[in-house]
Structures are given as C-alpha cells and as structure tokens.
Symmetry: C2
Subunit: 113 residues, 2 copies
C-alpha cells in the first residue's frame, strides 16, 4: 500500500517539530550520556560538561515530557534517582548517530578550507 505524499508544508512542520524536541545544545548529549551508561543525575552532569544542574534538571524534564526518558525514584536515604531511556527513544538514535559522524567529518571539511 502506497503512502500518501507529504506536502511541502507538512515537511516543514514535521521537521520543525523534531527540531523543537531536540533543540538546544544539551538534549541529545544528555540522551547519549544515558545511553552510554550514566543513569544518575551527577553522572550525567559529569558526562556532559559543563552543564549546570539547573539546566540539566530542566532538560531532563523536557525529555521526560517527550517520552524519551524515564525518571525513577528509589526511596532510600539519601534519595536515589535513576534516569533511563524509553524504548521509544531508540527511534531517535539513528539520527543521533548520523549526527555524530557528520560532526566528525564536518570538522575536516571546515578545517581544510
């Protein structure tokens, strides 16, 4: 069965929706940090320097709202909080990985001008 064509307007809208979700310097690096094994707040903060706690906190909330990250609180003392990726977030990683490689190559392109 054939998909309906996507119109110009829709393309722009979908693209901007995605850009809105990932916008800023931090959201994708934070996702990457979690993927690479940093589940605790301070771990993530160390992985993605020099993000401040205030900014990290707000980024994590937005990622949660977009169903990319799950926040789990363990009621211990001191309190233990774990951030994990949702399975849905896996749909984003092909894009992120392409971006990593693109950034790697782009550095050469701009340097060798």
């Amino acid at each position: 069965m054939k998909e309906r064509e996507i119109s110009d307007k829709e393309i722009i809208n979908y693209l901007q929706d995605t850009l809105y979700v990932i916008n800023g310097k931090w959201k994708l690096p934070v996702l990457m940090a979690i993927k690479r094994g940093s589940t605790r707040f301070r771990e993530i903060q160390r992985y993605v320097p020099p993000i401040t706690s205030r900014v990290l906190s707000s980024e994590l909330k937005l990622l949660e709202q977009n169903k990319l990250v799950t926040r789990k609180v363990y009621d211990e003392i001191p309190v233990l909080v774990e951030y994990t990726l949702t399975t849905y977030s896996e749909t984003l990683f092909p894009i992120i990985e392409l971006m990593v490689y693109w950034g790697k190559d782009h550095r050469k392109v701009i340097a060798g001008k």
Copy 2:
C-alpha cells in the same frame, strides 16, 4: 581496516558540533526549501513562513560559511540572486529526512498519550 573507537568525549564533541551547525528553528527548513526548488530569496522566505528577511539573510550567510549553500549573483536589473545547495550539503539530507519522518511519528506519540 578497523576504525579507532570514538571516545565518550569525542562523541559529545562531534554531536555538539553538528548541533551547532544546524541550530535554531530555521537552518534545516531553509535547506529543505532550496532542495525542493526554491532558489530565490523571496521564494525561500515564502516556503518557510514566517521567517523574516533579516533572519533569513543571516541564516543563509551561516549556511554559506558551513559550505552547505552557494550564493550566486547575476548582474541584472533588478539584481538576481540564486541560492543552491552544494554537493556537500547532500551529506546532511539523510539526517534531515529522518528528522522529517521522526517528527511525523512523534506527533502521534505525544497526541496519543
């Protein structure tokens, strides 16, 4: 021959480099506009509403600096300017296309919460 592993730090750096190039609401939509056939300044502006001429102008300059767009001036009256994609920009479109489709699906994910 095996590629050297990319370290955590490098991943973050490359990723942030890419994010820096495409940052903001407009650069990728502008590239898409050109790809879809809008080569003139006003055409692009109409394709990507509601971008102001001031913003579009600065975005195009940044895209030029990153070798993604070429600006060509034809010395006619009135002056004719054409923006075209560089071949290098083709390396970015796999990412952009994934983002379009991701945005399309994401809308459903968030709506159906």
